[in-house]
């Protein structure tokens, strides 16, 4: 059993048979390598999106500033929103889920390894298409919400084309990823892991996947209509020719509200893993946590119109959506109280991961409070489109999602790399981030109430906005220092971090029962799950390690063939398919229709190759793969 080895594995991460170097990474179907690439790509985009935010805050530091032009400012906040949502928080969550999901349910990979690779490349491809716009006449500038008719000619230029095509490509990746995760959790759990024994992180991954599957099509429909409006002169959103400008908003928020729960769901799951581990107690109220998660997911589809209280649908519609929006606070409150109750009576070890989880509880709760205030429709007529909303979204997205992702980073970095991030740097980083974040965003609540609208490139003196904007910009410097320190820690620990061993935190779930980093086949033998928090159960019974499933006569079931396991082989097809799709996209974007057709043909070619490609898989010898034979 390769459980608690103290030595750090060679970290090529390559499966046997995979070519070394870059080509191995580009063609891999290994969930761990894909997860790492998701996380690295997100980090690059995090600094791009952060740079955009930094410029905006510099511009707003003083009234009537002329550092950034009006047009550039609109491009900056549009790209900042798109980047942080689609290219940072979503892929970061997908990255962690990718690495951890098979490990936590006792599987050797996801259900559709090739689709997994395709999801990664489509996400990155969509991001690249979006970012190309900076070099071809300007980034999209109508906000991430991209309301009609501002999103159409003559009001906006080619940047919006890149928005449409980039999000279509990245959105397809998200949809595929959702299908893949859901199928994996439903079908590939280790024996004994029945649904009410799933780690809560896996439950949130289930709900996130369902939300992706049902929400992304609404965005896709919206984007396709806009594509026709912009490329072929239809008028779905143009009131001048009988279209309806509000149709865009409807479809956008039918996607957009579940989307914010797509962003926060994995965060809920991460917190639910970190808090019990470091409190040394099981998660309080597991069943109510599961049902709260399902309830939030379900209700997230019934509140979209609270983004539209001011469009004039009238008091009846507003009242209904105000009440459904407030009701979401109930299951969310249940979660907060359950987390607090998990900590209550525990022996809490304040590692950096736990500090981030605690920070999450404080800042996400404040974001929840402003959320309830926003749900009250008559009050929202004042809050809507003001800086109050900017404060709210950053309290739930940085104070919520990103805090949880940092907690996850410190918690799972050793599982991914075999080394611990520096705890002392980590604590510095936490305080810089926590304090910088609050200095930056807390004043924005007041700015909104004082009447400062969102998305303004400047403001005049004399409205009482100036001092708080200055304070907010100062906070950004502290916040940025926190982010940079994280990068430093990440790079430093890669080579110099303390070796972690398989289970550095005395943790509870299956991923900690294998080595760090996990071997190519994850588990030498599929473990038998004998309770919630399976590893903890074994520790309590004095076993200390997982009992393998009896493999006699069950070879097909867990892919274990007497010292060998059956694994999928790497393939460049997902990469080629993505490249073909990008060729088609650029053809359309630059109106070189021959190129677009060529790209589409190539796409169909690779699709057919994929369909008729037989993947026999390969047999991986457990000893050869660097693990220790059971």
């Amino acid at each position: 059993m390769a459980a608690v080895s103290e030595r750090v594995h060679p970290r090529s991460y390559a499966r046997p048979g995979e070519p070394p170097g870059l080509w191995g990474w580009l063609t891999t179907v290994d969930h761990k390598r894909i997860g790492i690439m998701y996380i690295l790509a997100s980090c690059v985009f995090l600094f791009l999106g952060g740079g955009e935010a930094f410029l905006m805050r510099l511009q707003l530091a003083v009234p009537n500033n002329t550092l950034v032009s009006a047009t550039l400012f609109n491009q900056l906040f549009t790209m900042h929103g798109l980047t942080m949502i689609f290219l940072v928080v979503m892929p970061l969550s997908n990255g962690f889920i990718n690495v951890i999901l098979p490990l936590q349910i006792g599987a050797r990979d996801v259900a559709f390894p090739r689709l997994n690779t395709l999801g990664l490349w489509l996400t990155i491809g969509g991001g690249l298409i979006l970012y190309t716009s900076w070099f071809t006449g300007g980034a999209p500038d109508a906000g991430w919400f991209n309301y009609a008719p501002l999103n159409s000619p003559p009001y906006t230029g080619s940047g919006i084309d890149f928005y449409v095509v980039g999000l279509l490509v990245a959105g397809l990746g998200s949809l595929i990823t959702g299908i893949n995760f859901l199928t994996t959790i439903v079908n590939m759990r280790a024996p004994g892991m029945h649904p009410m024994r799933l780690p809560l992180f896996m439950w949130t991954a289930v709900v996130m996947s369902v939300l992706l599957i049902f929400a992304m099509p609404a965005l896709t429909a919206d984007l396709v209509l806009l594509f026709f409006d912009r490329f072929f002169g239809t008028g779905f959103f143009n009131p001048a020719v009988g279209g309806n400008a509000l149709l865009w908003q409807q479809l956008f928020w039918i996607f957009g509200h579940p989307e914010v729960y797509i962003l926060i769901m994995p965060a809920f799951g991460m917190i639910s893993e970190v808090i019990p581990t470091f409190s040394r107690k099981p998660l309080f109220g597991y069943s109510s946590m599961v049902f709260a998660t399902l309830a939030i997911g379900f209700m997230s589809f019934m509140v979209w119109s609270h983004h539209m209280f001011t469009v004039g649908y009238g008091p009846l519609v507003n009242s209904v959506f105000a009440i459904t929006s407030m009701l979401i606070a109930v299951p969310t409150g249940v979660k907060i109280f359950n987390w607090l109750a998990t900590m209550w009576g525990g022996r809490i070890r304040f590692t950096t991961a736990m500090m981030y989880a605690t920070g999450f509880l404080a800042t996400f709760t404040i974001g929840g409070f402003s959320g309830v205030m926003l749900a009250s429709a008559p009050a929202d007529l004042q809050y809507n489109d003001s800086y109050f909303v900017v404060a709210h979204i950053h309290y739930v997205l940085i104070g919520g999602s990103l805090m949880a992702l940092f907690a996850a980073g410190y918690y799972w970095y050793p599982k991914i790399t075999g080394r611990l991030l520096s705890e002392s740097l980590g604590k510095w980083q936490f305080w810089l981030l926590f304090i910088g974040f609050n200095i930056t965003f807390f004043p924005m609540h007041f700015l909104g109430l004082l009447g400062m609208p969102r998305r303004v490139f400047t403001y005049p003196p004399g409205l009482g906005f100036s001092s708080m904007n200055y304070v907010s910009t100062m906070g950004v410097f502290v916040l940025t220092a926190g982010f940079v320190l994280f990068l430093v820690n990440l790079l430093w620990a890669w080579r110099h971090g303390q070796p972690s061993g398989g289970d550095p935190w005395d943790a509870r779930t299956l991923e900690w029962s294998t080595t760090s980093p996990a071997p190519a086949y994850d588990f030498a033998q599929i473990p038998l799950v004998r309770g919630r928090d399976p590893l903890w159960v074994e520790k309590q019974t004095g076993n200390g390690q997982m009992i393998p499933v009896d493999t006699a006569g069950a070879d097909e079931g867990d892919g274990h063939h007497g010292g060998k396991v059956h694994m999928p082989v790497q393939t460049p097809l997902p990469l080629y398919l993505t490249l073909a799709m990008m060729v088609a996209s650029y053809g359309a974007l630059f109106h070189v229709w021959a190129l677009a057709v060529l790209g589409l043909l190539a796409m169909f070619f690779f699709l057919f190759r994929w369909m008729f490609d037989k993947d026999p898989g390969m047999m991986v010898d457990i000893v050869d793969a660097g693990g220790e034979h059971a």
């Binding site: 906006t156 069943s287 004039g312 607090l340 709760t365 429709a377 109430l449 609208p453 303004v456 005049p460």
Partner: protein, 341 residues
């Protein structure tokens, strides 16, 4: 951890100072666009709902965050403690309590939410209310008083103490009409007419701003609502209905000619003249307004000259072009326009 306690206390002190600073600002009247400083019944009602939500959330916040801080200090693992804490998996009664209490608190907030949603949308009595049709443009506001046959821009005069019934639409993209001290916002959507009402309890100057992203110069799309005393209102209506349009000084006479020959009149209307363009804002009695360029600049001769010299420089992407006017033309046009009062 003592260090953490100190920095925590510092943060709270800083937050308290910030709150006080805001209240002081609002009290000193330096927040002319503040929703916390309402000047009419609609904004008052909305502030009450804001207040109710705030106090409920503050109460819950003190409990939840207080609990969190207490937990951090009380249940922190101490050196040498290795015993496992009691492994509690849940408590049905507690879980029931913290499901039901939020429901009750939300019900308290939901009642005024529904009641005031209807109140804010209820149409005022048409026999006493003044109707104003508002049209959003990139980047200016058109105010049309159909019962008074007055059309103006960027500065909406209203009689204080009277309910004003507003019908909003847009000529291009979506805008949002927001005068925080009088009422929450409502969108001006092309192809759609939305209704709201507001009232200023006392005479005063209430600043407003477009709240929906509407293009490059969204931030500059400001306007004012000026609530007049009864006498001032009567005077304003009279002046607007009987504008004095004959240019007086030689410069203004030259400017009057320029206005026709340089193409200004293709876009702008000045009531009582033959200038009847409808693309840009109506400039009747422009000299009476306190702001120009969508209320983003104060109405002085110098600012008017700057504006005429190069409008897109002051308002990016604005439709009004740089006409490459000579210094003389700018002086004359400024004299003519500022004389309109």
């Amino acid at each position: 951890m003592r260090g953490a306690r100190r920095s925590g206390a510092k943060r709270w002190t800083a937050a308290a100072v910030l709150v006080l600073a805001v209240l002081a600002l609002a009290g000193c009247g330096q927040a002319p666009q503040s929703a916390l400083n309402p000047a009419g019944p609609v904004a008052n009602m909305e502030l009450q709902v804001i207040g109710l939500g705030f106090w409920i959330m503050l109460g819950v916040g003190v409990i939840v965050l207080g609990l969190l801080v207490a937990i951090i200090f009380r249940f922190r693992a101490r050196r040498g403690e290795s015993a496992l804490p009691e492994q509690v998996e849940g408590n049905t009664r507690l879980e029931f309590v913290w499901t039901v209490i939020p429901v009750l608190l939300l019900a308290v907030l939901a009642v005024p939410t529904v009641k005031d949603s209807f109140a804010a949308a209820s149409a005022p009595d048409p026999s006493t209310a003044l109707q104003v049709n508002v049209v959003g443009h990139q980047w200016w506001w058109e105010f049309d008083y159909p019962s008074l046959h007055i059309v103006t821009a960027d500065e909406m005069h209203i009689p204080a103490g009277t309910q004003i019934s507003l019908s909003l639409t847009s000529a291009d993209v979506i805008h949002s009409f927001w005068v925080p001290r009088l009422a929450g916002k409502l969108d001006a959507v092309p192809g759609r007419t939305n209704s709201m009402w507001l009232e200023a309890s006392k005479p005063g100057d209430y600043s407003g701003q477009c709240a929906e992203l509407c293009g490059a110069s969204h931030a500059l799309m400001r306007f004012s609502v000026i609530a007049d005393s009864p006498s001032a209102w009567t005077a304003w209506v009279h002046t607007m209905q009987h504008p004095n349009t004959t240019p007086q000084t030689p410069a203004a006479q030259a400017g009057f000619k320029d206005f026709a020959t340089l193409g200004c009149s293709a876009c702008h209307t000045i009531d009582g003249t033959t200038f009847q363009g409808t693309i840009g804002p109506n400039l009747t009695n422009l000299g009476l307004r306190k702001g120009i360029a969508s209320d983003s600049l104060s109405n002085t001769d110098a600012n008017m000259a700057r504006w005429l010299a190069d409008p897109p420089a002051l308002m990016p992407d604005v439709i009004m072009p740089n006409l490459h006017l000579s210094k003389q033309q700018i002086t004359d046009l400024t004299a003519y326009l500022e004389e309109q009062k």
